[in-house]
Symmetry: C2
Subunit: 579 residues, 2 copies
């Protein structure tokens, strides 16, 4: 950046690249809306004020429209959008976003440090500012086969990178307050390098919360009640108010924002599925909703602009002021206009206009290693999913819209000595296959709640280790589903009567697509429709529910590639309910 030229333009001594005239500038410093002209040069904001007569190469008359800083998402998992960074940028720039701090937790579980580096590399030349946090809890547990394990020493190799904004959410909160040495080592890696550590402490209160924060953890996005958020804030945490596709806390937590606390709260998405990203938007949706819930519009915008920049110490971002990066959005009003920015500027360039991308964004191609992460030396056959044993089994009970499960026991039908799915009880076979070592290790259990009448659905998105998981009525459709996932090197698939009816290929680490948000959104929509109409599935989001059934840190009963896990006991239990 030519600083001398920026200063000269601010003073009106040299022509600006662009003057945005007659704006109502949303000033997040004063909380006011200010009638002003804004001059731009060198990708930055030069002057704000009365600059109507400033020399300029180009002038745009905003005719009184609002000009707000572009959004910064302080916490999102890119993988939840199933999009590569370039496609994510294409999707969210028209919604007014220009920067995101991403926790690459999912790809880190599949590919380790190399996965994090891959995402960083794919984000590098995109006209959108990606920062990353360094995934702190890979793998989640040792009760599953994981694609990677990140030690403190591994994390230290990347922590000083200027694109690493913090150590990522420390999900192993008992590991902090119980002082597991390997957990404390990771904290010290961050502290030693002067980096923040993001938190993840659902329902943690009192002394355990004090102990967790004493570990040097400075934010939390897991509060679900106002009392919890207030306590965390009072103990020094920044509160990230989350409204994503899975977890929705905005309404419950908004009262934590008051004149004293406002500087330490942010609006974040955490996750946003491709369909919602495309249809509803990104942070503009959250800001609009916060205003609908009664928050002052300038304050709501501040929570998604200046505040995330302040928290992470991202300099010269999140406001419209001299020297700031020229990431801005033009809005017709501060109500429904937030949902449809008239124009978005990134680094002073017109990036989107009336909801359509106005920049050419090329999508870098991932290296072959990222496209080859499902390792099966042979195809599956139906016999691989046959199950012997006692017909009286433990059953995982899916609870619609939640990631916790229930459990109960049931008697399964037996054919030729083999346990079968039972559509009449809605208890179906659930299979998890390990994808990393080539040993094809697997375990098979039973799940209630999917409501499939026939066929199978399968996914390579299965938190946190992302082994392959499928639920199905018969073994031959399970066979076809797993083999198709292997062929696609990951994705989502619905199978009926021996044929693949619909699929969403996710060949990048088995987590992300090579397509656009609209393409992925449509494919997911079609897949869900097939699951509902053709297979008779009763769940609203069957693939979302499926993706959490292998996560052995969320109660109550889960299935990993190593077996059935009773989360309360933090250990394996037999399928046989009598054992």
């Amino acid at each position: 950046m030519n600083r001398a030229r920026l200063i000269a333009v601010a003073r009106g001594d040299e022509p600006a690249d662009l003057v945005l005239e007659n704006a109502h500038v949303v000033n997040v410093f004063t909380g006011e809306v200010e009638r002003a002209d804004v001059t731009l040069a060198e990708g930055h904001i030069a002057g704000v004020g009365d600059h109507a007569d400033a020399p300029a190469h180009k002038r745009v008359d905003l005719r009184g429209a609002f000009l707000a800083p572009a959004y910064i998402d302080a916490h999102i998992h890119l993988e939840s959008t199933m999009l590569l960074p370039a496609e994510f940028a294409r999707a969210v720039l028209p919604h007014g976003s220009a920067c995101a701090v991403c926790d690459p937790h999912e790809i880190a579980n599949v590919m380790g440090i190399e996965g994090i580096k891959l995402l960083m590399q794919l984000a590098e030349d995109v006209p959108f500012d990606f920062f990353f946090t360094l995934s702190s809890c890979v793998p989640a547990t040792h009760m599953e086969t994981s694609g990677a394990s990140l030690s403190a020493a591994d994390l230290e190799t990347l922590i000083a990178n200027p694109r690493i904004a913090a150590m990522a959410e420390m999900m192993n909160f008992p590991g902090v307050f119980m002082r597991f040495p390997e957990v404390l080592e990771k904290l010290e890696v961050a502290h030693r390098h002067g980096k923040l550590v993001d938190g993840h402490a659902p329902m943690l209160r009192g002394r355990d919360l004090n102990a967790y924060i004493a570990g040097g953890i400075s934010s939390d996005h897991e509060s679900t009640t106002i009392g919890e958020a207030q306590e965390k804030l009072a103990r020094g945490m920044w509160i990230f108010i989350r409204e994503g596709s899975t977890e929705k806390n905005l309404e419950a937590l908004l009262p934590v924002v008051n004149p004293t606390t406002v500087a330490r709260c942010c609006l974040v998405t955490d996750d946003r599925h491709p369909g919602e990203l495309h249809e509803l938007g990104h942070l503009n949706y959250n800001v609009h909703k916060a205003i609908g819930l009664g928050l002052d519009p300038v304050t709501a915008i501040r929570l998604a602009t200046l505040n995330p920049a302040s928290y992470f110490g991202l300099k010269c971002r999140g406001a419209i002021a001299p020297g700031y990066i020229a990431d801005m959005q033009v809005l017709s009003d501060l109500g429904d206009g937030l949902l449809k920015p008239l124009a978005v500027y990134k680094d002073g360039m017109l990036a989107a206009k009336d909801g359509a991308l106005a920049l050419n964004i090329t999508r870098p191609w991932p290296p072959d290693s990222a496209l080859r992460t499902v390792n099966f030396p042979r195809c599956f056959n139906a016999g691989d999913f046959a199950l012997n044993g006692s017909p009286h089994v433990r059953v995982i009970k899916v609870i619609p819209g939640q990631i916790v499960t229930g459990s109960f026991s049931a008697n399964m039908p037996v054919v030729e000595g083999k346990l079968q799915s039972d559509v009449s009880q809605d208890i179906l076979k659930l299979a998890v296959v390990e994808r990393y070592t080539g040993k094809m290790g697997r375990s098979i259990g039973f799940v209630n709640g999917f409501g499939l009448k026939r066929g199978a659905i399968a996914s390579s998105v299965a938190h946190d280790s992302h082994n392959l998981i499928a639920v199905g009525v018969d073994d031959s459709d399970l066979e076809i589903a797993f083999n198709r996932l292997a062929e696609m090197q990951g994705g989502l698939v619905a199978v009926k009567d021996g044929a693949v009816l619909a699929e969403v290929p996710l060949p990048v680490a088995g987590l992300m697509s090579l397509c656009s948000a609209m393409e992925v959104s449509r494919a997911v929509l079609r897949l869900n429709a097939v699951a509902h109409v053709e297979l008779g599935c009763a769940l609203g989001s069957p693939f979302m529910s499926l993706s959490f059934l292998a996560l052995p840190v969320i109660p109550e009963l889960k299935l990993t590639d190593k077996g059935l896990v009773d989360v309360a006991k933090f250990g394996f239990v037999p399928l046989d309910a009598g054992a």
Copy 2:
């Protein structure tokens, strides 16, 4: 720090070093006062909340007293206190301060980078947290002989030091908006290393202000009117509200603090003379005054604790929360109790009690180079101050309590061809002697307003180059005054009838004492009394007024060792008013 132990103490698993029970904790995050116990370990705060039953090696019952974070001064020139870091700490710890960000501008003008390093080194082991900013404008001008000149390359050698919190106030504001290359190079040194640049932009508004801020300058402490402060804040600057010994802006600027802007305002002192430091206090005086002017007490405390820490990114400081450095003060109430903390804790140790220091603080001895900065190869004699020329001369007019001067012309008496002081007109000889090169270069002029009836006063504190300056009725007392300053290697002195009546030795760079705040305070008091009573001086603070008469960047007429400066013309003018 043993983080595992801190966490264990926070949880109550291991005994705390200390529990402060039954406190009313001033919570700067929530704005509330909270009934809580606070556990301490490893010099840090472990837990805050209900910890009455926590195991501990020691317990102190605060019986409902208030517990507030200790103060952080975001902007002070240590040299204005005339105290070395250890003595400063001894003076301000009892007033509730534990951290200061110091601009070593004065010693940098005398000794350059070595002077800054010297202060940093003298501060190193003191139980008080000194941070420094890197003096950006040394020397102020080239119209005087300076002890040092700091280039961008010089500053780059120190900028990455973790004790350097920012580039110091960029006083050369025209140099920024007029894009002087050497000024922009200094800004880039800071930006390249991710450090902030503090501002100094008195009365700067509009486009020039925009241009200055576009240089990447993020704070200002020079506003004197509310409109000026509001404009700077709206353009992105943090507002340091100054209330020092010289400049008092608190009352005028306090209205800039409102629920939206409160997170970006700080209370600072800028300068605090030793007497006021000792008698009135440090930031506790400013906080108390702000409350008296109507600010909510918790907010007032926040402006001098959490906010300065936030601005500089000083982690884990400025609040009472788990993991924070245990710098705290016990207060009987949040009114007059602020002026007299009952106890002060630094790093969890009792540092002061009832206004008295409770820690043993040793004072490191400065190296000989710092004690030998006045370089005269011979003594002065009265003839050195004789003045020929036209009796119609330009006269500097001192304005009481201000650092700007007026000017007028007058006719001086002539004796044996030499111009003389004239007590009847209150126009006295003013002499500035260059102290660095050994050449003893000097210039002589006339000043009105001191009111001396006899004798002379002299000082080695003379902004910004700190040459020696004296005002006197006759040449022989000027001779004695300068020779005494040389003997003392700097200081303040009052001379009458050939004898030194009072003095304050400032042997460290000619700026700072080797004594305590109380000793310096008493010596200055005595010196001023002598100037008033024995010499008949009419000015309230004659040495303060004297110290600004050689500063050629403040209007209107000044005298440097190189001659008389018309500041408006930014150039020299002859003493002869007719020339």
